[in-house]
Amino acid sequence: MATVLESEPEGHTGGSERAPMPEAVVVRFAGDSGDGMQLTGGQFTLSTALAGNDLATFPDFPAEIRAPQGTLFGVSAFQINFGSTEIDTAGDAPDVLVAMNPAALKTNVGALKAGGLIIADTGEFNKRNLEKAKYDVSPLEDGSLEKWQVLAFDISALTLEAVKPFGLGNKEALRCKNMWTLGLALWMFDRDRQPLIDWLKGKFAKAPVLADANIAALNAGHAYGETAELSGPLKQYHLAPAASEPGLYRTVTGAEAISYGLVAGAQLAGLDLFFGGYPITPASAILHNLARLKEFGVTTFQAEDEIAAIAAAIGASYGGQLGVTSSSGPGIALKGEAMGLAIMTELPLVIVNSQRGGPSTGLPTKTEQSDLYQAVYGRNGDAPMPVIAARSPSDAFECAIEACRLAVQYMTPVMLLTDGYIANAAEPWKVPDPNGFEAFPVTFLEEPNGPDGKVLPYARDEKGARPWIKPGTPGLMHRIGGIEKNPGTGNIDYSPGSHQTMTNARKDKIDGIAAGIPAQEVTLGEAGGKLALVGWGSTYGPIHQAVRRARRKGLDVSHIHVRHVWPLPENLGQLLKSYDQVLVPEMNTGQFKTVLRDQYLVDAKPLNKTSGQPFTIAEIEAAIAAALA
């Protein structure tokens, strides 16, 4: 369904009048990185979810923790798309922009839909801030915002007034501005304030005066919308709850879903979970989440570096736990050698890569899908390893379980790809029943498995997997390592025959996974036709919506979204060949396109974007139209 308002709402008559009901609205909160925009967005998300709207969010913040105040590069924004229909993306162009200062206006107004609403805090549009934002004249006064509706008033002063009874210092009092703004937004979209009030009481349990001040600011913002005699663009929207499957819902970010999925995966395998990590944006949240789940048999280890983090995880897997490590591109690069060891010693391991823009340090807080080659090919030697890509925050839960399953069933490291967008974005999630997943309990070798009581650590089962032998098991002492080994005993063996046999065995095992994963389905549309859009990872939302819109217009286009990026599902080649054209939208310069060409000799065409921002639906729609023109 359409995710943004196509037409300008009518009836801008005043404070309490309700606007006609749109299907969906996109709101962007933008302010200084110290203004609490991510928090405001997060709480607005929660209220929206509780109101039963479907939603998708896009937090967009600078890499600097507290960039100099008022500067263009210090702007932090949070976009939410919500509505009464199915929502798959954070929306292309906002309908409403809340700009807490001139810099926030300048960096975000370009994206605002024509006719959209700007809410600006005039208290911050002073000479100093205008200069920092490189405005000669206040844009609120020079007519440059004519194509939009502007609602500018002194939020700073109104906030100070609202929190006056609590005797806070000026700086502390102004910190409540975000709650004032949120109150107004909650009024605009007819949201319940109570969950937020409860949350504030909990957050400031140790400083009740701050809780009270923030609640007062929130209520004041809400009351402003309710009572202010404004003639102009401020109006109230009411979005009906989105139709969704019955059940219990919550919001979830990708980082949360992965953490829970790893815990679930370890439980399904009957193992304790060991997580070795090293702080890196945007992957750290997984380590933060798991550090609080010790009662689930989770050990978290903040290592001295990325290499130690994966090495410790491999050590734990060697010891019989499910070892997991996580990072982003630069850290994954450092882990490469250790991944090779896990491949060589054939130990289970899950490696989560929350991709960000690269190369090198690149864009730490922005999203990209440019680590696909690194995941599939990025190690020395012939070092095959399965790769799975999550397409959304909620999908990340199942993908994490799948990664655990492949790791223990095939005795191999598995890479799970996610990205900054999925990791930080939230969406409603129908809480899954953990008992609804098929268990895959691990059996450790307990007795010698070779002739005459010999131990053969590199004997193989029907999947090509070797036995998992825990140190401490009597009578099964053996040595493993990164040197090429004898196919059965695992003893050092560089002979030509051994290396050929072992290289083949490692490759066959991973190739064989293709038979153990579901066949590729057409996500939207049908097998065969004029055009297939093939995606992986977080491009799911925009591709899906674009294909849906194009199909509504009668275009012959289907969407195929691939979870198992390596090895690819067995039927994918045939499926791709059933279309006249294959287009691969990716946030990189064409990596999956190359993999598909290599694997199937299909003429897959690239559609690429590397701006650090997700695709918009419109961009993909345009590409579909061009391909079918």
Binding site: Y249, A303, A308, G315, G319, V431, M477, R479, G481
Partner: protein
């Protein structure tokens, strides 16, 4: 040493030999170290099934293949990190780390530092031959100034690191030294094993191909008496058959060599070794060979709670009174129901 390893298991030296052909150069000091370890293991009642040798890369790191226990030959410099994960997964295991001066002091210096700082209960055997052997003779971070090697044809110009000083500085609570063919090596290994926590043992090892006899000044018979100071807790620090001793120069807060006449070490001001005295340990590991003898034996031994004990304790505390209910976890926070 762990609770588990106190349950003596009867083994002999032969039980600790694998069927693998040992592939060090004939005459390499590693053979003597291997034998000393295989001799020590039965004496401490070690159980082969619960013993794990973990190594990095280098000549020394081939060690696990030759010991009939569990073994993991990992990647260059990272053995301490693998051992950390292994120990946290199963603290019952008795883990020995085998490393070298390149593996442990150069590429893996970071991990050596952190395994000591965290105090993982493990024995760390650093074979120091002051050269890269497996890569054919390049100088190492412990090579002395002026070492001529393929990468330093005019002699090395960077100052060497001192493994024991590094280990102590990193927070190590057990620091010892020995050399490959020393009769005292098994006793030092036993003491390391008895220590609860990270036990760091630097073993001078003779690389007969690339750095032959570099320790001969004190390991060979001619220089042994003057060159070796064997430390024993509670005993005076004497060498050269009791005719010389180590005293403290209180003016400069440094050590000095004094002559002992007629065995009267007290009169000469010779200090009694106290393995719990960290300040003394710092002086001993920094004591330059030449003007002084080489400090050998257990230099420092003062245990602290181990890393894995702290992790286990924290996990127990964090889990107390909580049930691992995944369904409950997933539906945590603010939820809503769609009818």
């Amino acid at each position: 040493m762990n609770e588990m390893t106190k349950i003596a298991v009867q083994t002999t030296l032969k039980d600790w030999e694998t069927d693998q052909e040992v592939r060090w150069c004939p005459g390499c000091g590693d053979y003597a170290i291997l034998k000393a370890v295989q001799r020590t293991l039965p004496e401490i009642g070690a159980d082969p099934a619960k013993t794990v040798f973990v190594s990095g890369i280098g000549c020394s790191s081939r060690f696990p293949y030759y010991v009939e226990s569990y073994g993991f030959h990992t990647i260059h410099g990272r053995a301490p990190a693998f051992a950390t994960g292994l120990k946290l997964a199963n603290p019952e295991l008795d883990v020995w780390l085998v490393t070298g001066d390149g593996d442990g002091m150069s590429i893996g210096g970071n991990h050596t530092m952190h395994v000591l700082r965290r105090n993982l209960n493990t024995q760390i055997l650093l074979f120091n031959n002051e050269i890269y052997g497996l890569t054919k003779g390049q100088y190492s971070p412990t090579s002395r100034l002026g070492t001529v090697s393929p990468t330093t044809p005019l002699g090395s110009v960077d100052r060497p690191a001192s493994p024991c000083a590094f280990a102590l500085g990193a927070g190590g609570r057990f620091i010892a030294r020995a050399y490959d063919v020393s009769k005292e090596l098994p006793a030092v290994l036993k003491a390391a094993h008895a220590h609860q926590g990270a036990a760091f043992v630097e073993i001078f090892q003779n690389c007969i191909v690339y750095n032959k006899d570099v320790f001969a000044d004190f390991t060979e018979k001619a220089g042994a008496a003057m060159g070796q100071l064997w430390l024993k807790h509670g005993e005076p620090m004497l060498f050269n058959k009791g005719t010389k001793g180590i005293a403290l120069d209180t003016e400069t807060l440094s050590l000095k060599v004094v002559d002992v006449v007629d065995g009267d070490w007290q009169a000469a001001g010779v200090r009694v070794h106290d393995e719990r005295n960290r300040a003394l340990a710092h002086l001993l590991v920094e004591m330059p060979f030449g003007p002084f003898p080489m400090a050998l034996g257990v230099i420092y031994d003062d245990p602290r709670p181990t890393f894995e004990a702290a992790v286990i304790e924290e996990r127990a505390r964090a889990s107390a009174g909580k049930t691992a209910n995944l369904a409950k976890l997933l539906s945590k926070g603010q939820t809503w129901t769609v009818e």
